[in-house]
Amino acid sequence: MIEEREIHKEYEIKENPLVDVAAYLFLEDIADKQGAAGMNNYLISLATSLAKSMPEEEYKTWEDFVESLEKGESIISTFESVRAKTNHCMVTHKCPFERGWKEYTKRIGDFARVHKEVADYYNSTVKPGVNDTQCIICQTFRAAAAERITVAKKRLKYAQLAAVAPDGSKKIAPDEWKPILLEKAGVTNTDLNMVLRNNACIWILY
């Protein structure tokens, strides 16, 4: 089992830059034709269908689930390395899109403006919490993956607290939501800011 994970991790690290950059350009092509709303719908469908293509999971206890999550065995941590700061507060150290974003900016130039425009559309029409299109994919995937997991026979739920994009831009949950989310996460506002100094994303599972 450990050997399999190591093999998997090896391939995660060696993902080819052409594939990532081509995928971004494919999405930009969709935005050219269908606008921000069309691209937003496409990203949501992309992430949802990915989660649905993965097997369902059930855990007897919350501890079993968190252990699986941290080991990278759960579908929710397939693409990102997750650490539990508290029982319900999860931290992603490195954005799973960072490598693709770096390759894009290194080989092509500025990240196309449309990725921020679609994020603005998502923040105003779906829920506020994303920095760019990459966050839309990631957060939609987490929500759809959570729906495929039960812990002690109860469906898992996901909420977003804050995210830092590879370009350094930051998106924190709106002030009116923050106290409730922080309480659910079991962290303070100071904890949140400390985590954001050297991590990419902080989110809640409950």
């Binding site: 993902e15 052409l18 990915l50 080989r107």
Partner: protein
């Protein structure tokens, strides 16, 4: 993550836009990627080959590309007009591995798109993603000059994730390389292609005309 998500969408895309539509999508992505990477100019083949080896050309995005400098392509006058190049690992192999571990089977549309491309465009694709990067290479060649001459990229052979191979015999004949020799290159490389000066008068072409 994005690459695995895209693989899981191929089936849906092919059902909505048809396999022909998927080919058009991928070709546009390959073109757009090449266009966005800009133009390059080299004084001669040695400077181009060194740039390639050092990862400074647009082709380097594909990974470890080796200029096989023992395999120069010459024209009817015996002048060097290009070389054979080989990519160590298929650009999609890591994605295929990631799909296998996280999702499972690769969608059937993958093979359907490759088959349609082989029938309607050219018989060189093993998986649907071959469409993107073969188009990408062709378009990149148009953006590069060597000794002020524009280039042309010709796909010669490739080996898929499961070991299947495609060898473009007509293209090999055109540049005068024995298909069995290229087959032996596939033991150590995943993809073999030639970069030539556009419009060069190749020996193989002269023989066909005669």
């Amino acid at each position: 993550m994005l690459d695995v998500a895209l693989v899981s969408l191929i089936q849906d895309m092919s059902e909505k836009a048809g396999v022909e539509g998927t080919i058009q999508y991928w070709e546009r992505v390959g073109e757009s990627l090449a266009m966005r990477m800009g133009k390059e100019a080299y004084m001669g083949w040695p400077s181009f080959n060194v740039a390639l080896r050092e990862g400074r050309t647009a082709y380097s995005i594909e990974g470890d590309v080796t200029p096989l400098t023992d395999l120069a392509v010459t024209d009817v006058d015996g002048d060097v007009v290009g070389y054979i190049y080989a990519l160590k690992t298929c650009v999609f192999e890591p994605t295929m591995q990631r799909v296998r571990y996280s999702v499972g089977d690769v969608p059937q549309a993958d093979a359907a798109v490759a088959e349609e491309y082989n029938n309607s465009v050219k018989d060189t694709a093993i998986c649907n993603f071959c469409v993107i990067h073969q188009k990408f290479r062709e378009e990149v060649a148009k953006n590069i000059t060597v000794a002020d001459q524009p280039l042309e990229c010709v796909q010669l052979a490739d080996r898929g994730f499961k070991g299947e191979t495609k060898i473009a015999r007509d293209s090999l004949k055109r540049i005068g390389i024995n298909p069995e020799y290229v087959r032996s290159l596939l033991r150590n490389y995943a993809c073999v292609f030639a970069i030539l000066m556009k419009g060069a008068r190749l020996k193989g072409e002269e023989e066909v005309e005669e």
